[in-house]
């Protein structure tokens, strides 16, 4: 098991290096630079040239990348934001909690609602509950998160005035964003849980359990559910990554100051240090989440566990 984890951690390194290189190239191949941001509008040509020399922007891109990575790896220094003039790490640490609250809240909501509804829908196949669930999840699947966010905001904050619409001060601010962020994935999870349950319920061992007189409850929770949940774990894991990407959109709908809004603002204003650090952070989070999912999967599935030993 340790060997497996170690190997996975090692393969993360080239992937992260690759991402950092690609993003760095993308940000630096763009014509124009951030001198306007730093010096303000109407700076003289000499001042701009001096700044470019000072920041090392006149060096070849790969040299700049090398210098950046050396700073990151040896000193943990991700540079200073061109816009706010604060060290990027500081800004990230202020914004990260909001993104994490959003992500954790969404996942919790997705699992707590998705799995029970999926089971109910499968156990009562073709009932009214099942049909409504399928219809609603089909519609939600087709709903882009920003439209969902606007609709929720319109209904619950502007019309009903129950919840705040923008910002990230209290836990109430996170209710609508969490629903927005998880809605599409929730719908997929419901459909996935349902179809897995249906498959398992028809299997021989469930029929055996029924025929020996086990109660319906024991059949569903003791025999069927455990086997049906295996693929669901993978889906949850895969969705987590997509959710972190989707958080970028959700954050900008609800004006939450998180990592996502930092990326969007940074890209608009060519603030390379902020964008680099924020995107790398997202990539690291996604890689770690995927690793954790793989470990859980190996842990839950005895067939895989014995293979790894």
């Amino acid at each position: 098991m340790l060997k497996f984890i170690g190997k996975r951690l090692l393969t993360m390194i080239p992937v992260l290096l690759g991402i950092s290189l690609i993003i760095f190239l993308i940000m630096n191949l763009t014509p124009g630079d951030a001198s306007g941001l730093i010096l303000g509008e109407g700076a003289t040509k000499e001042a701009v040239e001096e700044l470019r020399e000072e920041m090392g922007w006149n060096d070849p891109v790969l040299v700049q990348y090398g210098r950046y990575m050396v700073n990151v790896l040896t000193k943990g220094d991700f540079g200073t934001s061109y816009i706010s003039k604060v060290p990027v790490t500081q800004e990230l640490s202020e914004r990260l909690p909001n993104t994490i609250k959003l992500a954790v809240g969404s996942v919790a909501l997705m699992v707590l609602l998705g799995i029970p509804i999926g089971i109910l829908s499968a156990v009562k196949q073709y009932s009214i509950v099942d049909n409504i669930t399928l219809l609603v999840s089909m519609l939600i699947c087709a709903m882009p998160s920003f439209f969902m966010g606007l609709c929720l905001m319109l209904a619950f904050s502007l019309k009903l005035n129950w919840l705040p619409s923008i910002g990230s001060d209290t836990w109430k601010h996170f209710i609508l964003p969490c629903i927005t962020c998880c809605s599409v994935h929730l719908a997929q999870l419901i459909r996935m849980t349902r179809s897995n349950m249906l498959e398992v319920i028809r299997s021989d061992y469930v029929r055996t359990a029924r025929s020996k007189g086990a109660t319906e409850r024991r059949v569903v929770f003791g025999h069927a559910l455990r086997n049906a949940l295996l693929p669901v774990i993978t889906v949850v894991g895969l969705n987590l990554g997509a959710m972190l990407g989707g958080a970028v959109i959700t954050e900008s709908v609800f004006s939450i100051s998180g990592v996502g809004t930092m990326i969007v603002n940074g890209i608009r204003k060519k603030d390379t240090p902020s964008v680099m650090a924020a995107i790398l952070l997202v990539a690291v989070m996604i890689s770690v989440v995927n690793l954790v999912v793989d470990i859980i999967y190996a842990y839950v599935d005895p067939r895989l566990r014995s293979k790894l030993k």
């Binding site: 690759g18 993308i26 498959e199 990554g241 959109i249 969007v264």
Partner: protein, 300 residues
């Protein structure tokens, strides 16, 4: 006499059942009501969008501002879906937005399928070190959420339609490389491929004539579903201001413009939102229907 007719009918019915592979797929697809609903919905939308220049003028109805008529209610005279804050007809803007969204959806998927598919086919067919290098590259691209990748590329190239197409295509390539690769790996071990190779068939021909037709099912399904995703991603980019720029109408752009007026005039965000949902829904329904039609075993 009657018996003859019955016999003839029976023969006819038997003949009906002799269908080509494609015919069978169409037969099963047609029986799926939801899938047909998706197809009809898409056909209707495509028709309205393609014929738009015949009944709408881009300059007059879509771009020109008529401030006197701003925020007309839906179903008011001359404006079925009302007008926005500049008095521009919502219906005209949604239709012209649809022209962009639907074309871009198809174009993005076609291009990334072509490029990503080629990469995946080469990786899957040759295996070994080629496979390793290509797929590790794809892993790097996949490690970032698609929308972030597209955002970064758009930021470099600037926001116009051509650059959006390039950015979204690049962001979509790794997904298709993976799908095509795994589809090819499944066929690879079959005996008829070995037979083709033994006959001295050249590699490109083996891939295109022998492997691809047998692997096409899952690829078509994924491509259909991916068109829906691309429409959403494009609208999302426009929504955060990195996509299609105003005054050019696009569903995401319309939503972000309408955001400031949604308190008093909710229809300015709800209408383009529903347009996106209908488009995405039609592709999703068709994708699901195709999956069932292509592989009846999967259906419970």
């Amino acid at each position: 006499m009657r018996k003859d007719i019955q016999a003839e009918q029976a023969v006819n019915e038997l003949e009906v059942k002799k269908r080509s592979q494609l015919g069978y797929i169409w037969f099963r697809f047609r029986k799926n009501k939801l899938a047909m609903l998706g197809l009809l919905l898409l056909a209707a939308m495509a028709l309205v969008c393609i014929t738009a220049p015949l009944y709408l003028s881009y300059e007059e109805d879509v771009v020109t501002q008529h401030v006197m008529e701003k925020f007309s209610k839906p179903f008011s005279a001359g404006h079925i879906l009302g007008t926005d804050r500049y008095g521009r007809d919502m219906f005209a803007r949604i239709v012209y937005g649809g022209r962009i969204s639907l074309t871009m959806g198809f174009a993005i998927v076609a291009l990334s399928l072509l490029i990503g598919g080629t990469i995946g086919a080469i990786a899957g067919y040759y295996g070994g070190i080629v496979d390793n290098i290509l797929m590790r590259l794809m892993d790097i691209l996949l490690a970032l959420p698609q929308i972030l990748m597209a955002m970064a590329i758009v930021a470099v190239l600037g926001t116009d339609i051509k650059n959006l197409l390039i950015a979204m295509t690049i962001a979509n390539i790794p997904k298709f490389a993976r799908i095509v690769r795994s589809a090819i790996l499944q066929i690879q071990g079959q005996e008829y491929i070995e037979a083709a190779k033994a006959c001295g068939t050249r590699d490109p021909r083996t891939i295109l004539r022998h492997i691809l037709p047998n692997a096409i099912g899952p690829i078509v399904v994924q491509a259909t579903l991916q068109i829906a995703q691309s429409i959403i991603s494009l609208a999302a980019l426009s929504f955060i201001g990195l996509g299609v720029q105003s005054p050019q109408p696009e569903w995401g752009t319309m939503l972000s413009e309408g955001k400031q007026d949604m308190m008093l005039y909710p229809f300015v965000v709800i209408e383009p939102g529903i347009a996106i949902m209908l488009a995405v829904l039609s592709f999703n329904l068709m994708g699901d229907g195709l999956r069932d039609a292509l592989d009846p075993k999967l259906k419970n």
